[in-house]
């Protein structure tokens, strides 16, 4: 099976439809946990998980605090909580201050995952309207994790991938189709 233990995806504006599309085309036996941190509008706090669950053959959960991460499940950062990945393979949540006006902050999820998984993870930054996630992806790269940034030319809002490209020289810059191919061919 794969050298990786998890795939961690961050995105904001425009990323929801994109993630839905990607997950609906992911092979059903995808064997890794997928951890997703997406900004959402304050008034759209529910429905994301339900929508994802309808499109995906994998089980979608908004994790409880200290929930154990299992292969083949999709973990979606709950609205209004930061989501951290821990050494012991669990998720912890917090209501700490917002970071770059964001809660959940993609930086926190990616940076904590980088410490927990080191080189055994894939970090992906998708379309989005602010700079959250860039620092986190740099931490992933520094720990030799595999990094992918969505090609800004294909992004609905290119601010987030551009910010990531400023800080990180990722292993790959891909279109959404390219990212999907990459995931489906992960061995």
């Amino acid at each position: 099976m794969s050298n990786y233990k998890a795939v961690v995806i961050g995105g904001s504006a425009g990323s929801f439809a994109l993630v839905l599309k990607m997950l609906s085309k992911l092979r059903p036996d995808f064997g890794l946990p997928i951890i997703i941190c997406m900004h959402r509008l304050k008034h759209i706090r529910s429905g994301l998980a339900e929508n994802l669950a309808m499109k995906s053959s994998m089980k979608v959960v908004e994790p409880m605090d200290k929930e154990r991460i299992e292969a083949g499940k999709i973990y979606l950062a709950p609205a209004n909580y930061h989501m951290f990945i821990e050494f012991d393979g669990t998720i912890s949540l917090s209501t700490e201050e917002m970071s770059l006006q964001c809660r959940p902050a993609i930086d926190y999820t990616l940076s904590s995952a980088a410490i927990a998984y080191r080189e055994k993870m894939v970090g992906i930054i998708l379309t989005g309207a602010n700079e959250d996630g860039a620092k986190g992806l740099k931490d992933v790269a520094d720990k030799k994790g595999f990094t992918i940034v969505q090609d800004p030319a294909t992004a609905e809002v290119p601010t987030m991938p551009r910010a990531a490209l400023k800080l990180v020289k990722p292993d790959m810059v891909l279109s959404p189709e390219g990212i999907l191919d990459f995931l489906n061919n992960l061995q």
């Binding site: 304050k42 008034h43 706090r45 529910s46 908004e62 994790p63 409880m64 605090d65 200290k66 709950p78 209004n80 909580y81 951290f84 821990e86 050494f87 912890s92 949540l93 917090s94 209501t95 700490e96 201050e97 904590s112």
Partner: protein, 271 residues
């Protein structure tokens, strides 16, 4: 010196015991403090011993002080339809908000009580480890524009409960100063008191009908969670409600003493 040694020494030098806080989150908080102050653990310890203001700032930075008006509107609507309908029909109703921070949840609950015509029977207590946030809670004044989503939460809850209420019924808004302040009839209700959950018993002699402790125990390890829930349990009437954060659950050791009622728990009557 690692962060665990720091916490032990911090406990010896102050009255604050953070030793049973959850390792991962407290180590992140401490790392941020070290970065922000550009001081080592040793230097911080030396300074907290002699500088009261600095000590308070460190406590302020270690603890998480988030609260919102009507956080999770769906929860409040479901409380209205369930436990609020079962509150005592006469006499005093006692509410306890633990880790209440700047008091916005305390005021949210009192707004619900006012809508239900129960405000005059309410005894509302907010406790927190941090005296600074309690002063803000007592004053009941908050930034306005930054918190516009409070209005959305408020409207969602009022609509969901079928109440005909306006935000301005409860808050005086000063656009120029960019502040909103709880109206005097709300402000006079709650009592805010310091309580260190690790070391102190409840700082009042009453039993309670409803306890809110939302997104507080996510920062504690299991041992401390069990200790605190036991302390709370002993203060609750039979069938009183315990409300946790949306993504929180009781430890397996504690949950046998409660019944799960969807978004909250009730205390099982003693046999």
């Amino acid at each position: 010196m690692d962060f665990k040694q720091f916490l032990k020494e911090f406990k010896n030098r102050t009255q604050y015991d953070f030793c049973d806080y959850c390792d991962s989150s407290i180590s992140r908080r401490l790392q941020r403090i070290v970065e922000d102050t550009s001081m080592s653990f040793e230097q911080i310890l030396d300074k907290v011993t002699v500088d009261e203001g600095f000590k308070n700032k460190i406590v302020d930075d270690i603890t998480v002080n988030t609260t919102e008006l009507f956080r999770d509107p769906q929860l409040w609507i479901s409380l209205y339809k369930t436990h609020y309908q079962k509150l005592p029909k006469s006499g005093t109703i006692t509410f306890w908000h633990i880790g209440c921070s700047v008091g916005l949840e305390t005021y949210s609950n009192l707004i619900m009580m006012h809508q239900m015509g129960l405000l005059d029977r309410c005894r509302s207590i907010g406790t927190d480890i941090n005296p600074r946030v309690l002063n803000i809670a007592r004053n009941g004044e908050y930034a306005y524009r930054f918190n516009m989503f409070f209005r959305d939460n408020f409207d969602a809850v009022m609509k969901g409960c079928g109440f005909d209420a306006k935000f301005e019924d409860y808050f005086d808004i000063d656009e120029k100063a960019d502040t909103m302040r709880a109206k005097p009839f709300l402000l006079e209700r709650p009592k805010f008191m310091v309580q260190n959950l690790v070391t102190d018993k409840a700082p009042f002699p009453y039993r309670v009908d409803m306890v809110f402790i939302r997104n507080v125990m996510i920062y504690f390890n299991d041992k401390l969670q069990n200790q605190i829930i036991s302390m709370i349990h002993s203060k609750m009437y039979d069938n009183a409600a315990l409300v946790l954060g949306k993504q929180e659950a009781l430890t397996s050791q504690m949950e046998t003493r409660f019944s799960r009622m969807g978004q909250y728990y009730t205390k099982k009557p003693s046999m």
